[in-house]
């Protein structure tokens, strides 16, 4: 077990400069709830630990008409408490409440969740479903990456050695939109064996104009099935067609490539992810059918 040095930047620029200086011998730490375990088991080693938690400019939830901007250092607890941000933020909030434990949520961050890029990372599934964009910055400049392109494999992202995730932006569709999320676990507090996120938009308040279906924990990265989403387009949410929903769920599952591990088998992941997609579609449809309260 090696030692490491601890540095504490107080601005994004300072953090990027430190990372540029130390490169791959440095690790960013936010909540540390994944990183410290990996360091102890020697799955990762580093000489410098750059503590991001004192950079207040990375911690925010800003809602506008066009998008929801979330700072990567926003804790999962803060996400569970976020209000007034519309259906997508509400869905994110409900999902965060199912993750890990209240204590871990106090320090674990949304940025940490997606940068650690575990195949079962729940925020990753949702942000992919919501077509979020990640902003990455280094001393050389800034770029945006769609969440669909952000994840590269098991615990792998496209984040460069010197890059810092500085923003997550979720576009708010103009059309009426609802979202739902579900996860399958062995007992109540557990990593997801499989998860599913669904986002449905309607025009004329009844006809599906766009739908996005993502399955998590069933492949190295979240699996976005455009074909499955497209199957829902045109469906009337006031009279949802069961065959259409079941077919979309089956299509989404068909694109996954789950493995067997200590939590469950690949077969079970296939079976239950299809159920989760179907139920998430039902839930989103149900929410769309609730007449919104007068403003």
């Amino acid at each position: 077990m090696k030692e490491f040095q601890y540095v504490r930047p107080t601005s994004i620029d300072e953090a990027c400069a430190l990372k540029a200086l130390h490169g791959s011998s440095a690790q960013f730490i936010a909540g540390g709830t994944d990183l410290l375990l990996e360091w102890r088991s020697e799955a990762v080693t580093f000489d410098y630990c750059i503590d991001l938690t004192h950079i207040s400019e990375l911690r925010y939830v800003c809602v506008s008409q066009d998008d929801i901007a979330i700072g990567p250092l926003t804790t999962l607890a803060e996400i569970t408490e976020a209000e007034g941000g519309g259906p997508l933020l509400a869905c994110l909030s409900r999902a965060a409440r199912c993750m890990c434990t209240p204590q871990v949520r106090s320090t674990a961050t949304i940025g940490g969740n997606i940068c650690h890029a575990s195949p079962c990372a729940d925020m990753a599934v949702l942000l992919t479903c919501f077509d979020a964009t990640a902003t990455l910055r280094s001393v050389s400049g800034e770029r945006s990456v769609s969440m669909g392109a952000f994840f590269a494999g098991v615990n792998e992202t496209v984040l460069g050695v010197e890059e810092l995730l500085t923003g997550i932006t979720i576009p708010v569709p103009a059309a009426r939109t609802e979202a739902a999320f579900g996860r399958a676990t062995r007992v109540s507090t557990d990593l997801a064996q499989a998860s599913a996120a669904v986002r449905i938009s309607t025009e004329d308040d009844a006809t599906v104009s766009a739908a996005q279906i993502v399955i998590g924990a069933c492949a190295p990265v979240p699996v976005l099935s455009r074909a499955a989403g497209e199957l829902l387009v045109g469906m009337n949410v006031a009279h949802p067609d069961r065959a259409t929903i079941e077919t979309a769920a089956a299509r989404a599952e068909w694109e996954t490539s789950p493995i067997s591990d200590v939590r469950c088998s690949d077969e079970y992941r296939r079976e239950v992810s299809e159920v989760l997609v179907r139920r998430a579609i039902d839930e989103a449809v149900g929410r769309l059918n609730v007449v919104p309260a007068a403003a």
Partner: protein
């Protein structure tokens, strides 16, 4: 030297970067009420409050809480001056072996500070990060509800 604010007192301590908050609280400040069981953030026995939020001290680097307020069970009450939550746990016997107890009491404090009259569901959800291997869950829930009564909903304890 690092300044840590623990239980209302500021301590100047030599802390190495890799040392967890749990380690520093136990080994440097003698606060053995911060129990370490699983050491990986699953069981909650190491729970302390950091700026009022229940936090897994075995997975938090001590250096990260500089400038924040840390509270452990020792800062909540003692044998001569029990906090109402501690009294409630005695009244309802919300423990058996006692290892998980300080952490659960700290999470309960955070819950009752935010919600002085929680429902059973809220209590259960707030304490979902705690494993009681002895299986005292019903008694623990009763203890927290009893604590809410003792605290009357309006005392700033």
């Amino acid at each position: 030297m690092t300044s840590l604010n623990v239980n209302g007192r500021v301590h100047e301590l030599e802390i190495e970067p890799h040392q967890t908050l749990a380690e520093v609280l136990r080994d440097k400040l003698g606060l053995i009420g911060v129990r370490v069981s699983c050491g990986e953030g699953e069981c909650g026995s190491c729970t302390v409050l950091v700026d009022g939020r229940p936090t897994t001290s075995c997975l938090t680097l001590a250096l990260q809480v500089e400038g924040k307020e840390v509270m452990t069970i020792e800062g909540l009450g003692n044998e001569d001056d029990l906090h109402p939550i501690q009294q409630a746990f005695i009244d309802e016997q919300g423990f058996q072996c006692g290892v998980c107890t300080p952490g659960i009491i700290m999470s309960s404090k955070a819950l009752l500070d935010a919600d002085p009259h929680p429902t059973t569901e809220k209590v259960t959800a707030a304490l979902s990060g705690h494993i009681c291997r002895c299986g005292a869950y019903p008694e623990i829930v009763r203890s927290v509800l009893h604590a809410a009564d003792l605290m009357g909903g309006d005392c700033d304890c």
